[in-house]
Point group: C2
Chain length 484, copies 2
């Protein structure tokens, strides 16, 4: 309001009267400072202006004449430095307390920060008792320690960085798909399908008194989704490019560093495919596009991880982004493993499932960058994988993307679009009736198509080098743990 | 490749030799046509070029010398018109079949479409038996009819339009929050909280043999989330603006037009609030921003609804976007209802809960545009709502946004940030131990904050005028129904 009024005045003649008005407007303005987020203040947007900043105290350093406070509001890793006269000191100004500061935003004489806020007022909005607060000033707590406080860990530097990276990576993935003509589909969470036929499902019923076996809320048994693939395939009969990005579930009785009961998957389906290359191109482009976006928009946050949490990982990541991902067939992978001098826990032979140890070896063998493995044995893959109809090695047009540190990041396949072959296979496994609707998709305007899924938490582990999957999701759920 | 080569040539002297090369390159190019999506073709991107388009047949009109085919690939409501010599006709070219067409993209002489594809080849990729296919050519099937075929309804014009609108509205909402400094949080689906204390929860356990009562997978009873609010509040202790957009659940035994067991919610929390206005501003801005985005990016799709599905709704929507949303207090609302001549099923008095009939009346009373109702009776609101500490009418700083046709679209409140008040209330309802972690948020750097939730399906109903909530979600789940 002041700016508009001032503009009008400067257009009019600057008589002594208008100057007096201008002065009182400036005075008024000083009383209603512009509210700024820390990231906005740091960008120098309102240099020289009277501003108000609100956030949480990261550090307090009282010196002779002045008090130096670092305040953060989550909009950036870098805090804003506040300089206040020591008369503004307050015993409640402790690490973690919430404050509101007004003052003039000035260029900083120090190299470390572009601006600082010369405070004329510092108000403690919410106290934080430093004895009870589990995080201590200037201490770098380990990821394992902060994991014990799921309701507070976002207040640490490391976890707030993780959350900014996660949010930005989410945006990047949505942007990639939008820019490339994919339509977003909200595939259902509750489903009557068991997509992979893999067991390890969560079942869903209303809470309260135990229901009789045949008295289901949905009339049929209902489960939490393990994949949105089949529902995406429904959509890929009308839209040539679709994707979904949401939570998926596995009732795995594991507390490992690699598994969660609830995790996020990015899944895409492409219609009118010609070969697996139509899928590997999307996977590689998406990986590169998302990673470049994160590196460009969260440079400081990523640096925090690469410097303090996972030193040395930056070189690995740079190589991943720069180099093209090699493609090897499953048969070539088996040859590589068989001629390795490394002793594996699980034996390798044509037809064996690749274990994490094998996947990690293959990644190292290929130069410690992501590698595609294609054309897996037909019998290892679910009913929907497209039959390559090759002999004597019978394979399916399936592909996995293996990445450093993590192993399998993506899994995908061309889908069997031929009604006769699909129908025969479903009959073989006794699922023809259950999936009659799925066969319908092949009866009416079927097209060659394929898709893949990417484990979003594994993606974050891969780019940050974080070892434990529980450290890259806001509220980890796993066997025997569902905090909050 | 061709373009680069041709450019090089045009820079070099155009001798007869290079002209010959150019000719054969052009010939080569004709053999490998550019793959285009229908929306790209319609935009006239490759006019005069040899292109390939793939999609599903919407209509076939054989005339004397020519065959007219409309093909769609989901990238737009408008199909691409194909003109083919009648010798390219094929009995398999039926409504719903999948085809691949190559030819030259030309300006169309007809007003209805900007371009048309003069085909030199039409190949049927996937047949579609018109007798068995439940949708018939040129017929406008009702939403209720197509709902019976959840695996095929995306192939109708109406539902493919709905899905494009839904995808675009999702993008718009994410953009609004990103542009306004909100960070996205993936709040958990499985939770040990019962946020509203409202009952009607789904419980989650691994499928398979019945477990003993005290043998939970997560060690504690676990439920599907009814709201991400409390988890967002965790984050709003470190980030001043956060939001989540994901599925939520209610085990309501209802098959009404208004309820689903699984639906999407947009929820936001804002820290350092001063009054309810900080929330109503975000709600109103988001509504307007998302709606304008949808109207700009899905004009044809929205028109289909407003012309054929819900005639007359466009005027209602235009008024919603243009006018500021009025704000009335709950007490004013009760006065309005009490002085109404309309007979309500549920009686109205200060302290009563507003029913849908009341909400719809208030919306009509305020000019059939969205209206905010604020400051509800304290006793009607959950434990976290901020006490207004007013007398004699004891209210909480809560707000609902009521909209035409739907009733409640958003509900929100300032949250009780004062430890003593919150602690006393939790003690009153016997939940102090359960929510000791929530009290921690007030112990350590508590700030005035508030938030709201918006029902995404209701939002879509509101802008499109669609009566039944099952028609605005890809796979509706409700009591006795979980198809696919």
């Amino acid at each position: 309001m002041f700016q508009a009024a001032a503009k009008t005045l400067s257009v009019a003649s600057t008589s002594s009267v208008s100057r007096a008005i201008l002065f009182s407007l400036r005075h008024y303005c000083k009383k209603t400072p512009t509210k700024l987020r820390v990231s906005e203040a740091l960008s120098g947007a309102e240099l020289g202006e009277n501003v108000k900043v609100q956030g949480w105290v990261r550090s307090v350093r009282p010196q002779k004449a002045n008090l130096f406070i670092h305040v953060s509001d989550g909009s950036s890793l870098q805090p804003l430095q506040i300089i206040a006269g020591s008369e503004l000191n307050d015993p409640l100004l402790t690490f973690g307390s919430a404050i509101e500061v007004t003052g003039i935003l000035k260029k900083s004489p120090h190299q470390k920060q572009p601006v600082e806020l010369e405070a004329d007022r510092v108000r403690v909005v919410g106290e934080c008792n430093p004895v009870d607060f589990p995080f201590k000033i200037k201490e770098r707590h380990g990821l394992e320690y902060i994991r014990q406080f799921p309701h507070l860990r976002c207040r640490t530097n490391a976890f707030s960085s993780l959350l900014r990276i996660r949010s930005e990576a989410t945006t990047a993935i949505h942007s990639y798909f939008k820019d490339n003509g994919f339509m977003q589909i909200h595939t259902p969470i509750i489903t009557s399908n068991d997509c992979e036929g893999a067991g390890e499902l969560f079942q869903v019923e209303p809470s309260g008194p135990v229901h009789e076996e045949d008295e289901h809320f949905f009339s049929v048994p209902a489960f939490l989704t393990v994949s949105g693939q089949l529902h995406l395939e429904v959509m890929s009969g009308a839209f040539s490019r679709v994707y979904t990005f949401g939570p998926t579930f596995r009732a795995e009785n594991s507390q490992s560093r690699r598994h969660l009961a609830e995790f996020y998957m990015v899944e895409a389906e492409v219609s009118f495919t010609e070969s697996l290359e139509d899928l590997t191109k999307v996977m590689e482009d998406m990986f590169r596009s998302a990673t470049e976006h994160v590196l460009a928009h969260c440079a400081e946050d990523v640096d925090l991880f690469h410097k303090h949490v996972t030193p040395g990982h930056r070189d690995t990541l740079d190589a991943m982004v720069k180099k093209r991902f090699p493609v090897i067939t499953y048969s070539e992978a088996i040859d590589i493993l068989n001629s390795s001098s490394q002793k594996f826990t699980f034996p390798t032979y044509w037809g064996c499932d690749l274990q994490t140890e094998h996947e990690k070896y293959l990644v190292k063998h290929c130069g410690n960058i992501p590698v595609f493995v294609t054309d897996y044995p037909y019998d290892l893959k679910p009913f929907y994988a497209r039959d390559n109809q090759d002999h004597p090695e019978h394979t399916a047009a399936a592909v996995d993307l293996l990445v450093p540190g993590v192993g399998e990041l993506c899994g995908g396949s061309l889908r069997e679009e031929r009604l006769d072959l699909l129908s025969a296979r479903l009959q073989e496994v006794g699922l023809e009736d259950t999936y009659s609707w799925y066969l319908d998709l092949r009866r009416f305007g079927s097209v060659p198509h394929g898709g893949f899924g990417l484990g979003f938490e594994r993606y974050l582990q891969c780019i940050l080098g974080v070892d434990n999957i529980k450290d890259v999701i806001p509220f980890p759920r796993f066997s025997h743990s569902c905090l909050l």
